[in-house]
């Protein structure tokens, strides 16, 4: 509500710098603003990545260790269960998905750090879109994933991974991996906003991640798991995405796997993005 007495001062002052602008109620303009605000935050997060390279280095070392460990330590054990597919071709699509999932942890840590340092308080007092801090963070993490997944592909090719269904399908697989990473970022955005400090965010993230990544088809075929676990492992999003990516890389029918994977992505964002924004709006 506006009280009459004070408005002249408002008008006189807001013209001064040409800077303070009235909020728009028009949808189109506010959508443009929302995108601009999100990009501004993404830009800021990517600068941090460039300036503190260890953030990037740590998120590449871990999947690298996994590639080498699974390829050369467990690979021999898994090979007979694969019925003719090379383990390295089975593994690398799983590694892509696992990399995207683990990378999403950075979303939680980044947001929790912003809360911890007080930066989030400042953002809350600015006339920016209420979704921008979260959109900016998940977008920056998507950009980081592009780099990490590309690197993992290079490593994969170096240790014998080959694509069997052509380059367009392989690029489709990469897009699928990135979409899944983006969706997972929204889950971890909620984790980060809920816990509010980086150490707790990291500690809280792992118990969510471990069952999703290991009780899945990312590294081994689910057929060798006990029945009760198979039921979960077969249908959970990491497996659906790993299978879809694998189908696009190895060849064979892809439509069902790809649609299921995309359905998971959409469902995750549809549920977690509103919760994340609600947590941001909610007073700390």
């Amino acid at each position: 509500m506006t009280r009459p007495g004070a408005s002249p001062a408002t008008v006189a002052r807001s013209g001064r710098a040409g800077g303070v602008s009235a909020p728009s109620t028009r949808g189109a303009l506010s959508l443009v603003r929302t995108v601009q605000d999100g990009l501004a935050i993404a830009w800021r997060n990517l600068i941090a990545l460039r300036r503190v390279p260890r953030l990037l280095i740590f998120s590449t070392i871990q999947p690298l260790v996994f590639v080498l460990m699974f390829r050369y330590v467990f690979g021999g054990v898994v090979q007979p269960a694969l019925h003719g597919v090379d383990y390295v071709d089975f593994l690398i699509p799983g590694i892509f998905v696992q990399t995207a999932v683990f990378g999403a942890m950075n979303t939680a840590i980044g947001l929790a750090t912003d809360m911890d340092t007080g930066l989030m308080e400042r953002f809350r007092s600015l006339p920016m879109a209420r979704s921008a801090v979260l959109v900016g963070r998940t977008t920056a993490d998507l950009a980081r994933n592009v780099f990490v997944v590309a690197l993992m592909a290079a490593v994969g090719f170096a240790i014998g991974f080959r694509i069997h269904a052509g380059v367009p399908a392989f690029l489709g697989a990469i897009v699928l991996v990135l979409a899944f990473g983006f969706a997972m970022s929204w889950i971890f955005a909620v984790v980060g906003m809920a816990v509010g400090d980086p150490e707790t965010a990291q500690a809280a993230a792992f118990p969510v991640l471990a069952p999703l990544v290991f009780a899945s088809s990312a590294f081994v075929p689910v057929a060798t798991m006990p029945g009760w676990l198979q039921a979960f492992a077969e249908h959970q999003p990491v497996s659906r995405n790993a299978d879809a990516v694998r189908a696009l890389v190895l060849g064979g029918p892809t439509a069902t796997d790809v649609w299921q994977a995309l359905a998971w992505d959409v469902a995750i964002v549809a549920v977690f993005a509103p919760i994340g924004v609600w947590l941001y709006r909610r007073e700390p």
């Binding site: 509500m1 506006t2 009280r3 009459p4 007495g5 004070a6 408005s7 002249p8 001062a9 408002t10 002052r13 807001s14 001064r16 710098a17 040409g18 800077g19 303070v20 602008s21 009235a22 909020p23 603003r33 601009q36 605000d37 501004a40 935050i41 830009w43 800021r44 600068i47 941090a48 300036r51 503190v52 340092t117 007080g118 930066l119 308080e121 400042r122 953002f123 809350r124 007092s125 600015l126 006339p127 920016m128 921008a132 007073e283 700390p284």
Partner: protein
């Protein structure tokens, strides 16, 4: 009078803890207003409500006529906030920090560039402007924080303990800057534990203690109410301090407070009563080891109002979760 901020019967509870209760005050446009109180008094809670970060559980507040709850988006476009802990992105350079705020407050790009350069210059950060804020000293980070609040040239500026931890030189520079802003028409609400700061800057102060307003006046009137001069005598032994206080209170109209061996009196008549007091004490064989006479400060006012010093640690560790 044109009001920039209007707070009506404001209350804030966190579960069972009451951080603010029935707080009322008004801030005239184009003035500096001081919100004073010890740690945990509720100052930051009040600022967070006025800057739309927190919601009141009772009462209403208006910034330039706009309700901070119902019209939060409009309020956000009219305010600047510099927090207690310097909230800048340490990985960005000073210039990038300012440009980020410029983009998020929707200033034209060409204007953002000029504004960032101008503020870096004004806050003596021009040379460090292209270094990551991580490399800044505490004082530099604090200055950058205030500069960030000023990027959109907001008509109302909130400064939450802006000089905490600053060296005297930086503090004076910030005071000068605040005076300059107000001369240009900005309204400034600042919270502080340093009563001298409010004394130096504020036209009007509200003192809050445990979430309630305990004084609302000009610094001069508050000091006059108490007496312009404070006389302190040290009798060097607790027992003697007590005795001296009884003697002085019986003979003179002024009240005498004792803190251990120290006796503290206020005077409306400068240091004139000091001679009479010394003669009285001398007659009873009491000779103070130290005597001090000074102009009463808001520190003395706070002590008078609450019975505690403003900088003393609060009795219960923290009364509200907002001030860290």
């Amino acid at each position: 009078m044109n009001e920039a901020i209007d707070v009506e019967d404001l209350g804030k509870r966190f579960g069972a803890v009451t951080a603010l209760e029935s707080v009322d005050f008004r801030v005239a446009a184009g003035t500096v207003f001081g919100l004073l109180g010890p740690n945990g008094a509720g100052k930051s809670t009040a600022i967070r409500i006025l800057t739309t970060i927190a919601r009141p559980t009772a009462g209403r507040a208006f910034v330039l006529g706009h309700d901070v709850v119902r019209d939060a988006a409009t309020v956000r476009s009219m305010i600047g906030l510099a927090g207690q802990y310097a909230a800048v992105d340490k990985n960005l350079t000073g210039r990038e920090n300012l440009r980020l705020i410029g983009r998020l407050t929707h200033i034209r790009r060409s204007r953002v560039r000029a504004r960032a350069a101008e503020l870096l210059e004004r806050f003596d950060l021009a040379e460090a402007g292209d270094r990551p804020a991580r490399t800044y000293s505490g004082g530099m980070r604090r200055r950058l924080d205030v500069a960030a609040a000023l990027v959109p040239d907001p008509p109302v500026l909130f400064l939450d303990e802006p000089t905490t931890g600053l060296d005297p030189q930086s503090r004076n520079a910030l005071w000068e800057m605040i005076r300059g802003l107000v001369a240009d028409g900005t309204t400034v609400l600042l919270t502080t534990q340093y009563l001298e700061e409010a004394d130096q800057l504020a036209e009007r102060v509200v003192v809050i203690d445990r979430g309630r307003v305990i004084a609302d006046d000009t610094p001069a009137a508050l000091k006059a109410r108490l007496g312009n001069t404070v006389i302190e005598l040290d009798l060097e032994e607790a027992g003697r301090g007590e005795w001296a206080a009884q003697l002085v209170s019986a003979r003179f109209s002024t009240r005498a407070d004792v803190e251990g061996s120290r006796l503290r009196l206020t005077s409306h008549d400068g240091s004139r009563p000091l001679l009479d007091i010394l003669r009285l004490l001398d007659a009873h064989g009491l000779v103070p080891g130290a005597v001090a006479v000074h102009e009463s400060s808001l520190d003395d006012v706070f002590l008078e109002l609450t019975g505690r010093r403003a900088n003393a640690a609060p009795e219960s560790a923290r009364t509200s979760p907002d001030e860290s």
